[in-house]
Structure formats: C-alpha cells, structure tokens
Amino acid sequence: MAHNRVLQWATMARTWWLFDAYRQCPFKSSSKIAYYLIGKHKPIYDSLSDIGDHVVVINSKYISMPNDYWRVYKYFHHTGYPGGFSETAAWRLHEVDPTKVIEKAVYFYLPKNLLRRGRMRRLHIFPEEQVPTEILTNISDQIQQVQPVPKRLDEYTQEEIESFPKLFDWPEDFVLQSGFKMAESLLSESKKAETGGKKSETGGKKAENIQSGGKKETPKTGSKKAENLQTGTKKAENLQTGSKKPESQTEKPDSKKTGKKH
C-alpha cells in the first residue's frame, strides 16, 4: 500500500506558487491568484474540498491600477452608527499598507463560503522582493503574470530612443501639452487645460519617481504628506474630501505623486 500512499500524498500535496505583482493589475492578478487558492487548476477540484495551493505574492507595493483607479477606486466602510460611513481611496489604502489592495481583491474573488478564511491564510503577500527564507524554501513554481511588464523610458538606451520609428517631427514651436487651441471658447477654460497639462507632467514624473527613486528615497515625503492630510480625525478628513471635490481634484495629482514616491 505504500505505493498508493505516496501517490495519494503527491496528489493531495499543496504546491507553493510565486506571483510577481510588479506592475500588474491587482484585479486581474487577484482573480488568477484566487484560481490557484481555490484549486481550480487541479483535475481533482471539488467545490467542497479544501485542496487549494499556497500563493506567495511579491512586489505588491509596485502594482499598477488601471486608468485613474488610484484616485477613483474607493473602499467603503460603515461602523453601523449614524454618520459612521467612511470611504478611503485606493492610493490612501496603498499608502497605509501596500499589501492591502491585493489582499482585499483576492478576498473578493474567493467564493463566499466557510473555506474563504482558510484560503486567505494560504495567501502570503510581501510588499518587496524580500521573502523570509522559511517561505522561500517552500516555493516550487511560478504563476504567469497577467500582463507584460512595460519598459520605462529611462530603461531604453539613447540609441534605442533615437532609432524609434517616427513618421514626422513636431515643429519646434509646437506646444504639445496645451492641445489645439482652435476656438475662442477653449481659451476661457485655459486654466483647466493648464492644470490638465500639469497632471500629465506629474504623471510622467511619478513614473520616474517610482522607478528611479522608488527604493532609494526615504519615506519622509510620504509621511509628511500623510501628516498634512491627517489634519483632523479620519472622519473629518473623509468629510473634507467628500465635500470639497473640486479642491481635491486639483490636489490629487500632487498627493498621488507623493503617495507613489515611497
């Protein structure tokens, strides 16, 4: 029976998988991670059997949200008392705990039953590449990433940038950022357009910050920003952001930048 025993053992053994979340969409990644946590990748899958695998997620700090989800995507909470409602933006949550966004997404994708908590215990998330040795030794396989990791501009050599195929060159006096100011009516909104230009600029800067200074820079700026934001209690802050929408819009790009800095 020894032969059958080891076969059984090998069939039911839990494999440890590694998932590199660097520049991956947290939602797409989470549905894939949940697939492995449930055990749907095994031919012996059964919805009531606890046969899921372990998944170790690294680089959860460097996930990339689609569109402007960092700003728009909100996590809600209600204490149950009147006025107990609060909402937190994704960038804020990520600032507080860089593993939380992935964790919450995976928790959402898991089936809502009694096995859910146990499956979550098999998910190990680490913000950086550093993983404790006792976990690292268990890992024997890797889950494919959900999207290709984009290459940053500063990762290209000057030659590559220069040799990039171009159809035409912009005239030197052409202002790209302000767009086509064709109509007079647009001039009246020139202020807005300017802020928009700023936004894209800061966006570009942000990317640089992440790449070049992401690991180098001290979290001072981030914490300062957090201090600035945490003027009052959490509730008060939420109310602020809730009530002063136009202000927050203008503020957001800056805060986002700093939020991503550390």
């Binding site: 020894a2 053992w9 090998a10 053994a13 268990n138």
Partner: protein
C-alpha cells in the same frame, strides 16, 4: 433478520387485505370493511417477533424442500463441468460429519460392521486438488511474469492459496448448503477443504487439464485489481536494485531530487528519480527524501521485473486456451542473483 421476517409477514397480511373485492367477499366476517385494528395487530406481531428474537439458521432440508442429489447435479452443471456423481458427493463430506453419523448409529444400536455407513471424507480429494491448483498457479504466474523473482512468484501464489482467498471463493460459489458438515452453517475450514476437493474431484472425473482450467477460471481472477508488487514485500529494495544492475553490467543507481514542494512544512513532498549510467530507471514521490528514494527503488525494480501498472493484463478466458505452460521452469531467484554477483566480485577480476 427479525425485522426482515416481520416485514415480510406484514406485507403478506396487507396483501391479503388488499385483495380484490371478489376474494374479500369470501370471508365476510373479517373483511366487511377496512380493518381498524390492523395497525395494532401488526404492531403486536412486530413486538412479539422482537421478543422472540431471530430464528436460528436452518438447513433447507429442515424446511422440507431439499433434494441433495439434484442440487449436486446442478452445482456441477453451473460450472459447465461433467463430474462423476459419487466423486462430487464425496467432495462435500466432512470428517466430522462421518463421526457424527457413526455416533448417531451407535446410539441407535446399529452395527457399523454389518451395515457400513459407506461414506468417505473429502480430505484425499482436497489434497489432490490443492496439489493441482498450487502447481498450476505457480506455472501460470511464471508464464505471466517471466522477469519476476521466484520469491515474488511464491508470494503471489501464497496469496492465491491463502485461507482468506479460498474462503472468499468457497463462500461465493454456493457451497454453503451442499457441504455435509456436523454443524450448519459450516465452519470456515470446511469451505476451503470442499473447494479444494471439488478441484480434485474434477481432476479424477475428467482429467487434470480440465481441473487446471477450472483453477484458471476461478482462482487466478482473484488477482484482478490487486497490485502484485504489494503482495510481495521487499525488505531492502535499494540493495536488490544494486545487485540487479550489477548483474546486468550497468552502473549503480544514483538518486537525484527531481522536484520538491513545501519542504519547510510538515506537508513536504519530494520527487526522487534514480539514474543508472545517466538513464532514468525509476522515480517516485514521497513525504521525505528517504521515503521517496526507497519508493523510487521499488519503482525501478518494477520496471526491471516488468510488473509496472502499465503491464499487459493476465491472459484469461478464451485467449488462455492456447497457452502452453512449462511446469519445470523456474524463475531466477534472489539467491541466484546474489551468488552471481558475489562470484563476479570474487573471480571477475581474475578472468
């Protein structure tokens, strides 16, 4: 048992009551309308049955419907065999049955010398049957697994001829009512003896070949679904593997870790592969490296002995008619192998 019998009774009662009106009218006294007391009546019957306990097991002859000769004839025909009537009858007679009958006659004052009992027990036939079965099974196994060691063949043979296997066969081919034993139901040993004696009786009635076909059809199929490698316990698989490879002139087995998972936990899993001359000869998973290595050695042995799970199925049924067995041939035994290797080690360099 009690419940079943009681249920039967209840059904009978109900069916009686549920007869068409025509029949019901025959006894108007009982069936003028629906019987209101039926439930109480059945309940009472049920309680009485519980109180009385189960009925003792009785031989069908005690129920009055039993023709032993006819049943014996039917027994032979069920297997499609032509038995000698007297021999088949003798195959079912147990020693203790004869003693019991003799005692009974003595009590009645009948002289056994002038009026002999005329019964012979089945032990001679059983001995003959066992001999035939044993000889055939070994030859058949050697034919089926020519690369298996003689020790393994013997282990599989012992399983087929074991108390457990023969009892299982005996209890499932309808011997129970036919066995003439002092007690009923007959003891376990009686089933085994009788089954062996039936084989013997067949050999005497027709010929040994016919009895061997019987053995092949009835005993050998007990191997279906069994792992023959598990029937034979190898104590030191790695040592045996080394000796085997050495005798074939191949390199010694080298274990290599193929894959592992969760090694820092209690649920660790290791896959170990064995290589000889850089060729994979066996692999297996295991809870620890040691277990995996041992199991890999067993796996390699299976490959060498050609008894893997993917081996060809046993030749049975119509296909087995043509096979010719060599009763004198013996497979290589482990002792031969060890002697060979020792000789090689001693004299190989000189030559």
């Amino acid at each position: 048992m009690a419940t079943i019998r009681c249920m039967r009774l209840m059904h009978c009662m109900q069916n009686l009551l549920l007869l068409p009106r025509k029949t019901v009218n025959i006894c108007p006294v009982f069936h003028r309308s629906y019987r209101r007391g039926l439930r109480r009546y059945l309940k009472e019957l049920y309680q009485r049955r519980l109180k009385a306990g189960p009925e003792p097991e009785r031989h069908p002859s005690q129920l009055g419907i039993w023709n032993h000769d006819a049943e014996l004839f039917a027994f032979g025909k069920r297997f499609g065999e032509e038995f000698d009537e007297n021999l088949l009858k003798r195959a079912f007679v147990q020693r203790n049955y004869i003693i019991k009958e003799e005692n009974k006659r003595k009590e009645l004052g009948i002289d056994l010398i002038t009026v002999p009992l005329g019964l012979v027990d089945n032990e001679d036939l059983a001995r003959k049957g066992e001999e035939i079965a044993s000889r055939y099974i070994k030859a058949y196994l050697r034919y089926s697994y020519p690369h298996m060691f003689e020790e393994g063949i013997c282990a599989v043979h012992d399983f087929l001829m074991s108390h457990q296997t023969l009892l299982h066969i005996g209890m499932n081919i309808g011997l129970r009512e036919l066995i003439m034993s002092a007690e009923y139901p007959p003891p376990e040993q009686a089933y085994i003896l009788t089954f062996k004696a039936v084989i013997g009786a067949l050999a005497v009635s027709q010929n040994v070949e016919r009895a061997e076909v019987f053995v092949k059809d009835i005993i050998i199929p007990q191997l279906i679904g069994k792992d023959i490698n598990e029937l034979w316990e190898i104590v030191n698989p790695m040592g045996l593997l080394k000796a085997m490879l050495a005798s074939e002139g191949r390199g010694p087995p080298e274990p290599r870790l193929l894959w592992h998972s969760a090694s820092a936990t209690v649920m660790s899993l290791y896959h170990v592969g064995l290589y000889s001359d850089k060729e994979l000869i066996g692999k297996s998973p295991g809870e620890t490296v040691t277990i995996a290595e041992e199991m890999a050695a067993r796996n390699a042995l299976k490959h060498l002995m050609q008894t893997t799970d993917s081996r060809a199925p046993l030749t049975l049924g119509a296909k087995a008619v043509k096979i010719k067995l060599d009763y004198d041939k013996k497979n290589r035994s482990i002792r031969d192998l060890l002697n060979e290797t020792v000789e090689e080690r001693l004299y190989g360099t000189e030559i």
